[in-house]
Symmetry: none
Subunit: 210 residues, 4 copies
DNA sequence: TATGAATGAGGCTTCATTCAT
DNA sequence: AATGAATGAAGCCTCATTCAT
């Protein structure tokens, strides 16, 4: 095996380990909450030493951000896959569904974002995160505008529709995760159905001021 | 002045101090975030010693919970005031408005609830909180059912309507507070208007599956 | 005992503890070198908990600086005591002697100053330190100028004389402390005598350009 | 090319690399201070791997010592070059000048020597360093004795003169490097002139007790 | 020989809570 | 009841050194 090959494999393994660390971190954060998870716990779960984590990431905050970026990139990937769809409603629905699909993960990132921004940590990565997100939102804006041209959607600035959907999704997530409100809803699936139907038609033309 | 009177006044002052502590704590939590606020900072703001705080509350978690209960009681008070209203829409609207009116406070309590439940802290108080909330929700349920009887609202279980409104409000709050999404919306007031209109008619009859 | 008295005594004890911590820190720094001394070691020597140290000082760097300031204040005290002396040579001699008298302490502070400045730590205290020192130097400058008026000293800017004396003292200290150079000098006392005589007459008139 | 030649070249390259490492280390130590420089930084500057450094040197302390030895050997080289000089004052002057010429380097080594000796690190190298230094001092002693025979210098043990000069040089270096004292002296060049003149005539006959 | 990923001891600092006065 | 000094567990991060490839 040539030296180049070897180097490539090493780099590969390094990336792999990075992924392992992030996976372990995410799993622990979800299980126990970020505040209860120490860097050492992450290392233990991966089966490596504490110091090794710091070969891959500068700070714990960086881990937070990288996870958030990964999430946002998954979303971007989703958009890429469905952007060809003729049905303009699909994108909005998929967006909605993606957000709701893993509520704990979503909520974790919401908390993390607030924390990380309050700490003014790793500003470059925050910027990167926001750049990706802006791209994603631009996709949505285009879709929304198409639907407004169709005459389907009420003609307010596109961000309004997106933000409203975002808010409903965000709230739905919090609802499904809230230990208290969970018991308030008996048939989760049916309710979600109801909620999605609201989300989709929300802002449809001719409904305002009714 | 008799001993009884004296004792009564003392008890009075003790209550007063308790309120001061909670007020100071809330103000600080809102200004800086719970994690950045130490018990000592709260004591300093009230102008008392740190130890004194522990004469009133067993732990910091108890402070969290008492604040949350106060919030929920404020909501109960609101319901009491408007429950006589003939216009059944009013209650829903006020509920919505109350939640949105002080988003940071609301978000704070949302965070605190998750934290406190994860810690399984002061379970008696958690129970008390949930009891009050259940009462509040029962009020809403009654209203919703009345509107469904009217034929105004789509006939799904009442909690669905409430939960949907809750979710939208929750999301709206997060949206308005998010440093990122804030810049995404140009005219905040106009957007909120849009959002409230959605919130009110959301779930109105005849819209589903449209 | 009145409350005021009690409070005063408490404050007194607090100060006393502060002094104990600084004394212990200084002793340890001298014995083992600053880098080998941990905050915990200092606490152990005083017989208190690690956290207590941080009730008195914000950081380890602050301890460094407070010790340095104490040293500089001792010097100021010395100047106050001898400033009345008619013999203008006395001040210079005492200054010299003070610096040489405890070489390890002096060297410690020299090291600390470099470290603390490189770290840009606790700038307010650095400023305070320098302010005191500037006062002390001003004392010396006045003395030197008097001697130049006498015609005793060569008429160059006063700081030159001071700086030269400072340099010789600084070097003498390093010499006496150097494990290597120590064995190079047999009769320490006699040599110091020689050095002091140089220090005193150094810069006397009529010697330059000989 | 024969195997022997190859081996020789390899050895040559190995030596060369060693020199590069030491050069890089010295440069970094001077720029940032020993404590802020990690082995990895040295490796990076040379453009090699961190592990390679440990093929050349057992510990970081060894690097320190090797640098100090190099410095002392430079001094020995200087003595060799000027030892033939008829003017006996020259050696003393050159010695003085050499020390003052690169104050940061000098101070670095002073710090390192204290550190390394406190750590009792690599005693063989410490011994070697001191052996070279002893040779250098012996050179100086011979010169001084010649000048005392001349009647130029006061007749005290030769090491006295050397030590005094060493001390003054050492102090001058510290002075010029001290961020604080620097601003105390306006005209650096003029002051150094003054200092050197003192250094040269320091201990000249007939001045003591004047 | 060269590499650089991995290690883990060790340092500094924070803060909720306790307790003697 | 009020105080605030004292505590120490716990967390984050650094870096010289090792070792498998």
């Amino acid at each position: 095996m040539g030296d180049l090959e070897k180097a490539a494999r090493k780099a590969q393994e390094f990336r792999q380990r990075e992924r392992e660390i992030l996976d372990a971190a995410l799993a622990l954060f979800l299980e126990q909450g970020e505040d209860r998870v120490t860097v050492e716990m992450i290392a233990d779960r991966v089966g490596i030493g504490k110091g090794t984590i710091y070969k891959h990431f500068e700070t714990k905050n960086e881990i937070y951000l990288l996870l958030m970026i990964r999430y946002e990139e998954d979303l971007a990937e989703l958009f890429r896959q469905i952007s060809g769809s003729e049905d303009k409603e699909t994108i909005a629905r998929e967006y909605f569904r993606f957000r709701i699909s893993d509520p704990r993960r979503y909520q974790l990132f919401d908390r993390l974002e607030n924390k990380v921004i309050k700490d003014q940590a790793v500003p470059e990565l925050v910027e990167k995160l926001h750049a990706i997100r802006s791209d994603n939102l631009a996709s949505l804006v285009r879709t929304m505008e198409a639907r407004m041209d169709d005459g389907t959607l009420e003609n307010v600035p596109a961000p309004y529709h997106i933000a409203a959907a975002w808010a409903l999704a965000h709230g739905a997530v919090a609802l499904m995760e809230s230990p208290y409100y969970q018991k308030f809803i008996d048939d989760k699936a049916d309710f979600l159905d109801f909620l999605v139907s609201i989300g989709i038609r929300m802002g449809n033309k001719g409904q305002r001021g009714k």
